[in-house]
Symmetry: C2
Subunit: 215 residues, 2 copies
């Protein structure tokens, strides 16, 4: 059972938890979160969406929901580890400008540095399309099918410096049927992701984790 | 405020409300419902999906979630009003075979006859992509954009013999922004639909409507 994170206050509807959502692509999960937040009495809000890619669909989706978007591309004029640090410094500047309290990774396809993750410990969450600790990494559905697993699902977890290794907060599961392929499995789990992630951020904002599935 | 329907019992996790979902197309809302129902402690289940169209994506999606599908096409060898009655009689036979208690219309594109609706009064629900009673009909998003409405959303309602005229049970709303078009508006509202409809069926199954939005 996961309990509250010491780094975070308990939010209220009049003073909601201030989030940033980091994306790299289509932003369907981000869209589900923003729509959830725009309903009455939600305890969290997103003040900025940050994309590390220009021209992705997620940018248009965020704008269509009235949320500011900042594009922070990996700098091209710097080499080696300084490149990642400069990129993360730019992101961190935006997070501070917007007084962000919680970072929501939603299809963000870059691994954050241990230094960044340590500074934001307990304040970064991610969603991954498998029943972690099984099938981490960028090809979860393919790996699930290849392994012949009978069930899969999605997991929301705190982020540490590994890939999909942080503490799991909640999970939804779904059966993998004999006629499932990567496409059908991905579609089913995407729907569960859109539901689970807002529920988990509700729990983080309220400090009440008792109604989350899978823990 | 909507209260419980006299036609329906209060369900339990061990004896969940037995639903049929009627579709005509891609079945994304049906998929969201089936996934919701497959989670622990849900008070409703779907024993059969009925499609009036063959070869639609929704059929594959239902099968991929392990739910039986029956295709009931409009008969081609009967003319006039007898045609609709024969079609509905075939559907009704299936509903009885599966001991269905609640009919969930999910993108079902045929209007049901007054006789059918009367027999199932309080036991048929539909979801419509607008803030009913505004913008009923098959082109809600187009009509909302054309009217310059500042907000839209989705509504779950009991079905009567009119088109989108039954009592509204719950609604989610979303802002229509100046840069919205039919496509962006449809995408936003679709996400809200996937969330609202399972919540409403939860309420119907439990008899507790107190936490629904918009009523």
């Amino acid at each position: 059972m996961v309990s509250n994170t010491p780094s975070l206050r308990v939010a209220t509807a009049s003073n909601p938890l201030n989030c940033a959502i980091l994306i790299s692509g289509s932003g369907s999960g981000m869209e589900a979160m923003l729509l959830h937040q725009q309903q009455v009495n939600c305890l969290h809000t997103t003040s900025v969406v940050i994309s590390n890619k220009p021209d992705v669909l997620g940018i248009k989706r965020a704008e269509s929901l009235g949320t500011p978007v900042e594009v922070v591309e990996l700098p091209t004029n710097i080499e080696g580890s300084a490149r990642r640090l400069a990129h993360e410094a730019s992101i961190e500047q935006i997070l501070h400008n917007y007084s962000v309290e919680l970072i929501i990774l939603s299809g963000y396809m870059r691994l954050l540095s241990p230094e960044f993750v340590t500074r934001w410990e307990g304040q970064i969450v991610n969603i991954h399309p498998s029943l972690l600790p099984d099938f981490p990494g960028a090809h979860a559905h393919r790996d699930v099918i290849a392994a012949g697993a009978k069930k899969s699902g999605c997991s929301v977890h705190y982020v540490d410096s590994g890939m999909d290794t942080g503490q799991v907060i909640a999970q939804y599961e779904v059966a993998v049927l004999p006629n499932d392929n990567e496409t059908t499995l991905s579609a089913k789990i995407k729907q569960l992701e859109h539901k689970l992630y807002p529920m988990v951020i509700d729990a983080i904002a309220s400090g009440d984790f008792s109604n989350l599935p899978g823990n």
